[in-house]
């Protein structure tokens, strides 16, 4: 009916299916420390956004702890003296107060399940938004000076970071996070009242030199390119602002020729309802 309706063949993504299977079955292995360091990092990133999983892991940890305490053995004489002496000379870590601490991040359950989108309560949004905005300002300035006059770039960077901050602090800001097909994790903060979203990703697979990641908004108003992503170290990208967001839009991520395409080409690595 609508000629600009997204072509389902091209954007049908297995990505919803990924949620239960891959990550969740790792809960046992993770609680047993039976995973590689790389898997551990990946799974912990997942845990930070999945309260249910974090709770399950916590309860499984209670079980593994009992396997551990059952092995209790009197430690060698002299150990206590050495530990106490060493403690007296060791500075303690301060408690976490900022939201940048991983423990604190793990306690932001409302931020979402695997792309379950949930509204941020205002205060949380403001607090977290402020933190992200600081990061964003820094990042935008750094990314902005690649070409053109520095002055102009800085102006643009500042405008863009103001837009980003506006989305992050909007009352209806919603944050979603989830896996990118082929590797990586994407995080989206969107605000319909601001008609915009902020996109960041980490761990994206490197593409051949002649290709790049391109973001799209796809919906009743048609398919609009948001722009090419520049990939930093370890596959990080963004924050990128996508304005012109409308109800019914989806966000899509594809790999395209470095100059960009007029239409997204399969495979679609990310396709999220906004």
């Amino acid at each position: 009916m609508n000629p600009s309706e997204p072509n389902p063949r091209r954007i049908q993504m297995p990505w919803r299916k990924m949620r239960g299977q891959g990550a969740h079955t790792l809960a046992g292995a993770y609680a047993l420390d039976a995973i590689s360091a790389a898997d551990r990092v990946r799974f912990e990133r997942h845990l930070a956004g999945c309260q249910e999983c974090a709770q399950e892991v916590a309860s499984l940890r209670e079980a593994t702890a009992r396997l551990g305490t059952a092995t209790a053995t009197t430690p060698p004489a002299g150990l206590k003296d050495r530990v106490v002496t060493a403690a007296a000379m060791t500075r303690q870590q301060p408690p976490a107060v900022g939201d940048t601490d991983s423990a604190a991040r793990a306690r932001l359950p409302r931020v979402g399940r695997w792309f379950g989108s949930l509204a941020w309560p205002g205060r949380l949004a403001l607090a977290a938004g402020a933190v992200v905005a600081v990061v964003v300002l820094g990042a935008a300035v750094v990314f902005g000076v690649a070409n053109g006059s520095i002055r102009q770039q800085l102006d643009q960077a500042q405008a863009s970071s103001q837009q980003i901050a506006a989305v992050l602090t909007a009352r209806d800001a919603r944050m979603m996070t989830g896996p990118v097909t082929g590797g990586g994790t994407a995080t989206i903060v969107m605000s319909h009242s601001r008609h915009a979203l902020v996109f960041t990703a980490a761990g994206l697979r490197a593409l051949p030199a002649a290709r790049g990641y391109e973001l799209w908004l796809i919906g009743p108003a048609g398919t609009r390119p948001v722009g090419m992503l520049s990939l930093g170290s370890r596959g990080t990208t963004g924050p990128v602002i996508a304005s012109g967001l409308r109800h019914g839009d989806h966000l899509a991520l594809t790999a395209e020729p470095a100059g960009g395409s007029s239409q997204p080409t399969a495979p679609v690595m990310l396709y999220v309802a906004l």
């Binding site: 940890r61 305490t69 870590q93």
Partner: protein
């Protein structure tokens, strides 16, 4: 086996968790006396699991010391809302032990450990005589299927990754992952661990 309550380690008493949590809270504020009390409650368990995984006595002692010092250093990070204090401590201990084992996995080392890790369950059995807690854990391990039990003991006491466990047992990795999870759920229920 029911009349051996006096030999049970003090840290296992129900309710000890909240005391320990409170003491860790004091440790976070630099309270040396509280750290002394915490040491008494956790040192044997930390040394036990580190020794079980690492085996080498000198390295075990070194890692145990690191873990206990980490408890001192990071006490402020303990969050009672996210689990029991003992689970927090044992997570630190087990992870350190496993990391140590994996970082020094030289050929000879691995061969030696493969030979010894083939019998972790028997060792549990043999260590189990003296306390109700050990008896309880042994009984719950016994309630698992063989594959579940082997997956859990090879991983937890042997320090193997699920991939290594899968190849030791000759089963697909997916199977091992689900067995580990199922096994821990059953253990949790059998041991009467309170859900968080």
């Amino acid at each position: 086996m029911t009349a051996t309550g006096s030999t049970e380690p003090e840290s296992r008493a129900p309710g000890a968790g909240s005391d320990l949590a409170a003491q860790i809270g004091l440790v976070a504020r630099g309270d040396a006396a509280a750290f002394d009390a915490v040491y008494e409650q956790i040192a044997a368990s930390v040394f036990g699991i580190v020794r079980r995984v690492i085996r080498d006595p000198a390295q075990s002692e070194e890692v145990t010391q690191d873990v206990l010092l980490e408890v001192w250093r990071t006490a402020a990070k303990f969050d009672a809302g996210r689990g029991s204090p003992m689970a927090w401590v044992m997570t630190l201990a087990h992870r350190r032990a496993v990391d140590r084992v994996r970082s020094v996995q030289k050929e000879s080392e691995r061969e030696r450990r493969t030979a010894s890790a083939a019998v972790p369950y028997d060792e549990v059995t043999e260590a189990v005589e003296s306390s109700l807690e050990r008896e309880r854990v042994r009984r719950c391990l016994n309630s698992l299927t063989e594959l579940q039990r082997e997956s859990v003991t090879l991983a937890y006491y042997g320090g193997y990754t699920y991939g290594q466990v899968a190849s030791l047992l000759g089963v697909p990795t997916g199977t091992v992952k689900t067995r580990m999870r199922d096994a821990l759920v059953r253990l949790r229920d059998c041991l009467g661990v309170a859900e968080q």
